[in-house]
Amino acid sequence: MTGVLEVVEAGIANCIQDAGRPGYRSIGVPLSGAADPLLLACANRLLGNAPDSAALEVSLAGPRLRASAGAVRVALAGAVSARLIRANGTVREVPAWQTATLFPGDAIAVGAPGAGVAYLAVSGGLRVPLQLGSRATYPRARLGGVAGRALATGDRLPCATVGGDPWLEFRAAAPFEHPPGPIRVVLGPQDDHFDATALATLLGAEYTVSHETDRMGMRLAGPRLAHRADRGADIVSDGVAPGAIQVPADGQPIILLADAQTVGGYAKIATVIRADLPRLAHLAPGAPLRFAAVAVAAGRAAYRAQAGTFAAWCARIAPFRPPGAIDEAALYANNLVSGIVDAHEAPPRP
């Protein structure tokens, strides 16, 4: 059955993302997709969705959504929480890492993530139309999402209604956390445009995330990475990928992110391994970061280990009845019978 979430307040720059749009890079279409695919997968798995189902990527200020058709279940992943506002006016806090169910007229107001991105997944995934095989929003070419743009007030987001007992929710045993430590990189492909001093600086110094950061890339500030005089900063453009660290002539590195263009003309000193890309999505302007070099094989081993950590996290998702669920269920049943909602009346006890 089809559920609908209506956008009551759009928040700031919230967009629909999934695993992205592979297969079209040769015609210039960026990969896009969730900045942190693991948190996207966590939010989806809480609901029993496929891990890469389309969900809302929340960054600066979360949206307020109202269920307008069917009972819709939602789940948050990340450093964020929300308020669930029942149609009768009662309000309760919904933390991340557990599900909550909205009946028609209920709303959820998502807060601001602590740092970086968080995800709000919905039962069945957000069912906006697929474009070139994905629902990921890429505003520059008006692809994916709702009309190829961030959420806007009044948008209607189709999803599935909740199956089974709507009062039985699910929660994780613990938040999913990324490991600390330096961001791991594979040197190159143009490390030969830099001398040993620049490579030692990249791997030894601390860099800071600047304000010039969006879904396309993250500009860093720190010690200058000088190019070899005989090579310079410019190359004949070649393929790039999210995680590639470009160094323009000013010597300040730029890490390309999910919406990165497909080719680039700056020398790439190193490239962040896939397992550590999601961590970049949680670094706010001013945050420090360091790099460490690993071999390609070690990067791939880290990716496999991460998949194992995620599987173990999923195995510890369990059903529970939230406090007050029985009261709410009774109230809801009562409202169905009487058709009257009174926010000021104490909910009837069973």
Binding site: P189, V240, Y303, A307
Partner: protein, 254 residues
């Protein structure tokens, strides 16, 4: 000797770039195109596991792998790619030939006078040179459907603007250095804007083939006046400008 022995470079832990040289040259690009064909066949017969896609560029080709797949170890992958790269013949581009209408009206060409002045040419001479030159699509990138075109005469070559524009209008014809392109979308950009086409370069609803141009295609610009531009723009906006009508081959047909 422009073409060097191919080499394989790691782009992180899930992509490898096979490089054939460091310059923009037809000989090097022909090797990239030949390698792309050999790679397609190799992937089809299962010689390389976990390949998601590849991006041919001016002088290299980048192969993207699925990190969740069972991949060969990096050294084996590099060997397989190098063997293919050495064996693959250079392939001359055999793309389609396009005639793309462009309006050089002053409103669409804010940098035309400055470029003409910088190169000691008249405005009309710049337009004549642009429309007399066959351009070759080397690769697509930067934005969906953005073609990197080679072939701009030295007489029109000018380094990119010192300060990029924050918003280049969609479908602007632009040049920088020895390159030429059309911005398919409004975007920031530092190239010199010399005209505008009513033609859409990318259409996601054309799902099987969203980008108008492919690497190897040949493009010639055809000057049109403002009234023609407006008429074609209205047709394009409603999907009434058929791609086939822009191909040279179609001119031969009754």
């Amino acid at each position: 000797m422009l073409t060097a022995p191919p080499r394989v470079l790691a782009l992180g832990d899930a992509a490898l770039t096979v490089e054939f040289g460091s310059e923009i040259a037809p000989e090097i690009h022909a090797r990239v195109l030949g390698f792309a064909q050999a790679l397609e066949a190799a992937v089809a017969r299962g010689a390389l596991a976990g390949v998601v896609e590849w991006v041919p560029a001016y002088r290299s080709l980048t192969v993207y792998f699925d990190p969740a797949a069972e991949l060969d170890d990096p050294a084996t992958q590099a060997e397989i790619l190098l063997a293919l790269a050495r064996q693959a013949p250079a392939v001359a581009p055999a793309g389609r030939r396009w005639r793309i209408p462009v309006c050089f009206d002053a409103a669409f060409a804010p940098d035309l006078d400055a470029l003409a002045a910088a190169k000691g040419l008249t405005r009309a001479a710049v337009i004549t040179l642009l429309t007399a030159t066959p351009f070759r699509v080397y690769m697509l990138g930067f934005l969906p459907g953005f073609p990197y075109l080679g072939g701009l005469p030295e007489a029109l070559a000018l380094p990119r603007r010192a300060t990029p524009r924050t918003a280049v209008p969609a479908r602007s014809l632009a040049v920088a250095g020895r390159m030429c392109s059309v911005y398919p979308w409004e975007s920031p950009g530092g190239w010199h804007l010399l005209g505008r086409t009513p033609v859409r370069l990318f259409d996601a609803d054309h799902a099987a083939d969203p980008a108008l141009f492919h690497p190897g295609d040949e493009i010639r610009w055809v000057a049109i006046d403002r009234d023609t531009y407006e008429a074609l723009e209205r047709r394009a906006a409603t999907g009434g400008l058929e791609r086939g009508s822009l191909l040279v081959e179609s001119e031969a047909q009754p």
